[in-house]
């Protein structure tokens, strides 16, 4: 056998390496710096973090706990909790970072921790390692697993819209709704801002899982006008959505709309919601006004076995949602379906029955053990300028009511709307549909307008001209006392020395006149309490036009409850529903609790 000389000699080549610089790092004298993306210990920007807990949910090792730490409390938009990482369990997959909605959580280049005390492996990122901020490595910026883009809502085009009162929003398809619902991280931060505290993450999750009927059932658990809210809610929930910190909030309202529309009629709705109706308990409650608040009280009290009667002055239930909101936002079929459903579970509504005219308040009081007032703000404020009583000067609320009652209103072809709230925008958009050119005059800047930005955008798309920082001075009339033009002055914004919002101040001499056929004023409304007897008015407290109530919407008179616009400043349907829901609790406590303390005062 030949000797493998090469095989014996060649390994000695390794000797050539003697004296060469070693490849190894001389630890601990020399330290190897981690790569720019190294996945080391966590760092959390405690101020940016809102405690949504998505990190804890996604963590597949259950390494992350949400805990209370000093200096942070549960507030609106922040659970007050902050993550704590158990580095004994963490696997540094960084799923928590990549799915952090706010982007507050990151990983750092630090990776060394040596200790014989296992407790030191618990780390509250950001609190225990503030120096980590300088050392960020793995960040989610631009690489998030979350979807920050909302599924756009299909809508009629602006040009199409002004041709009719057809509903502008077309609604999500099933695929769109699933995709939009899938964006939700389910933290529930939003529920705190909802006046009713609807179970938002639960019904969105039900939609994401494809169980639309369950979503409807969950919605109706504490909101009997889910479909209305799905169309016109002011959606304060979306303002604090965790995803909105870096992107567009989940379309909570549109998802509610999608789910509730699945119930095509009242029978299907009843079948889906399938509420438990308790046997009659012998107590009787009267409700004045079939607005969203009154209907809520009626619905939940009826479910709980109360005998409820709603007294409504008009021939249709719904209050402001029926008469104040234009039909292109909330079609009448939708309202009817919801009202019919309520009637089917035992809510009695007496139409064309105005308390104080068709029936006296005292009569009501004799018939019922408790009364809930939800009459809303029906009387419009006046502009307080010359020419306001002329023909062609209209109040927005009356205008909308007439249009929604399918009455004809002559506005001509050139309309000016004064105001910047949702009512003003509604009046403007309705006027566009009646064929008029519309200009909105608003005292402050566009960003100060109390109306929804979507509404403002919608108006602009439909060709409404918005003229901000314009203060009306006078309505000019012709010889027949008919509106001819409006005079207004431009205003500049003066910063408030106290730090409040800037105030408009008329620029002297900068006055203009627009020729118009009508002026629609939309600067606010107030309530008409004249139906209340003197002794009631004296016993309750009315402050700045609103009745003072406690947390159960109870007035100073134990048997009298009030809610909606006459009791809260938010002036939206969801707040009225919330008031109604609270009043239900109060009335239940008052009438079913045998031992009533404080002469019936709750709390």
């Amino acid at each position: 056998m030949a000797i493998n000389l090469k095989g014996i000699v060649s390994p000695y080549n390794a000797l050539k390496q003697i004296g060469r610089k070693p490849h190894t790092v001389q630890y601990p004298f020399q330290k190897k710096e981690a790569a720019q993306r190294y996945r080391g210990f966590h760092y959390n920007d405690l101020e940016e973090c809102i405690g949504c807990g998505t990190c804890a949910t996604i963590c597949q090792n259950e390494a992350i706990d949400m805990i209370f730490i000093d200096g942070f409390e549960t507030t609106s938009g922040d659970s007050g909790l902050r993550p704590r990482v158990d580095n004994g369990r963490c696997c540094w997959c960084a799923l928590c970072v990549d799915s952090c909605p706010t982007g507050s959580l990151s990983l750092t280049k630090d990776y060394l921790h040596v200790s014989d005390d296992p407790d030191t492996f618990l780390l509250v990122p950001g609190l225990d390692n503030p120096e980590g901020k300088e050392n960020l490595s793995w960040i989610s910026n631009g690489n998030s697993l979350l979807d920050y883009q909302r599924i756009p809502m299909p809508e009629l085009e602006g040009k199409e819209r002004v041709k009719s009162f057809a509903e502008v929003v077309l609604g999500y398809s099933e695929d769109q709704a699933r995709a939009e619902a899938a964006r939700c991280v389910g933290c529930g931060i939003c529920t705190d801002n909802c006046p009713v505290h609807m179970h938002i993450p639960e019904y969105i999750n039900a939609i994401a899982r494809g169980d639309d009927e369950m979503a409807v059932k969950i919605i109706y658990d504490n909101n009997p006008l889910g479909e209305t809210c799905g169309k016109v809610c002011t959606r304060r929930c979306e303002e604090i959505c965790a995803v909105s910190k870096r992107g567009e909030p989940i379309a909570i309202r549109w998802l509610k709309r999608y789910a509730t529309e699945k119930a095509k009629n009242k029978d299907i709705l009843k079948e889906i919601v399938n509420p438990t109706i308790l046997p009659p308990n012998g107590h009787s409650v009267g409700i004045i006004g079939a607005g969203p608040g009154g209907l809520t009280v009626g619905y939940y009290l009826a479910l709980r076995g109360f005998d409820v009667t709603i007294y409504e002055a008009k021939d249709h239930a719904g209050g402001m949602i029926m008469y104040g909101i234009p039909k292109y936002r909330l079609p009448i079929d939708s309202i009817d379906k919801q009202i019919e459903y309520m009637k089917s579970i035992g809510v009695k509504i007496l139409f064309n029955t105005k308390v104080g005219k068709d029936i006296s308040f005292n009569e009501l009081k004799q018939k019922h053990e408790a009364i809930y007032i939800g009459i809303g703000f029906e009387v419009p404020y006046k502009l307080g300028i010359k020419g306001e009583d002329a023909e062609g000067s209209i109040q927005a609320i009356n205008f909308l009511r007439a249009i929604n009652s399918e009455k004809h209103v002559e506005i001509g072809d050139k309309v000016v709307v004064v105001g910047g709230g949702n009512v003003a925008i509604d009046a403007a958009r309705v006027s566009r549909r009646l064929g008029a050119e519309v200009t909105i005059l608003y005292r402050r800047r566009v960003e100060d307008m109390p109306a929804d930005w979507e509404e403002i955008e919608g108006a602009e798309e439909e060709g409404v001209i918005i003229h901000p920082q314009a203060i009306p001075l006078e309505i000019i009339t012709d010889e027949n006392n008919k509106v001819k033009a409006i005079k207004y002055a431009n205003a500049e914004m003066i910063p408030d020395p106290k730090g409040g919002r800037p105030r408009p101040k008329i620029i002297e001499g900068d006055e203009h006149i627009i020729e118009v056929t009508s002026v629609i004023a939309a600067i606010g409304q107030e309530a008409d309490y004249s139906f209340l007897p003197q002794e009631v008015l004296e016993s309750i407290e009315i402050k700045r036009g609103r009745i003072v109530v406690n947390e159960y919407q109870q007035t100073k008179l134990p048997w009298l409850f009030a809610g909606g616009d006459i009791a809260n400043r938010r002036a939206d349907a969801i707040s009225a529903i919330a008031d109604g829901y609270r009043a239900v609790k109060g009335i239940e406590m008052l009438l079913l609790n045998k031992e009533i303390k404080n002469g019936g005062r709750l709390n």
Binding site: D86, P118, G188, H199, E202, Y203, N205, I218
Partner: protein, 195 residues
């Protein structure tokens, strides 16, 4: 017939002609799925190996369809000659989980069968080596059965290191502040219940 999948479709035809009750279909390029009655599996596999040149048992899997009370046995065969993978599936009863071995066709099947015996409790007749394989002194139900709850097992058998009891649930903290009461029927839709 799609001309892109001549080989695949030809094989499917051959299978259907020989085994009339076989449900054979194309899954995608290089993949066919064959569903068979369980008693036809041994003759089919033998046929596939000897006549259709499926000489490589690439994989052998088992899926627990607890809702149907069945186990699905999945033989993944590969033909080097045809460059096709045949996913051969059959279902067997879950309660009386028994099947026959195929280790005489592919020796590595023995290992898979040992694993399924241990992990699913399936008895493969003809395999005399169904001994302890991966687990040691296991005394619970076969752990890959879907009714075996890992979380519960771990709670019963291991202790949690103290020091993390102060953990809060975000949803609970918020409902506590707002007074929201989540009805029972909605609770399972809380995303927090992922685990």
């Amino acid at each position: 017939m799609d001309k892109d999948f001549i080989n695949e479709n030809k094989t499917i035809e051959e299978i259907k002609n020989t085994f009339h009750s076989a449900e054979a279909k194309l899954q995608r390029k290089n993949r066919i799925i064959v569903k068979l009655r369980s008693d036809l599996i041994p003759p089919f596999l033998s046929y596939a190996k000897n006549y259709l040149s499926f000489d490589h048992l690439a994989h052998f899997s088992c899926v627990d369809w607890i809702e149907d009370n069945q186990f699905e046995l999945v033989y993944i065969l590969y033909s080097y000659e045809k460059n096709i993978i045949a996913i051969v599936k059959t279902r067997i009863d879950r309660e009386k989980a028994e099947f026959v071995t195929v280790k005489h066709l592919w020796r590595q099947a023995e290992t898979f069968e040992r694993e399924f015996h241990e992990m699913y409790g399936i008895n493969f007749t003809g395999n005399n080596r169904l001994t302890e394989f991966i687990l040691e002194d296991w005394d619970d139900i076969p752990p890959m059965r879907r009714d075996f709850d890992t979380m519960q097992y771990s709670k019963e058998n291991f202790y949690t290191r103290p020091g993390r009891e102060d953990a809060q649930d975000v949803r609970e903290v918020i409902t506590k502040k707002s007074g929201e009461k989540i009805p029972d029927f909605a609770k399972e839709f809380s995303v927090r219940k992922l685990k």
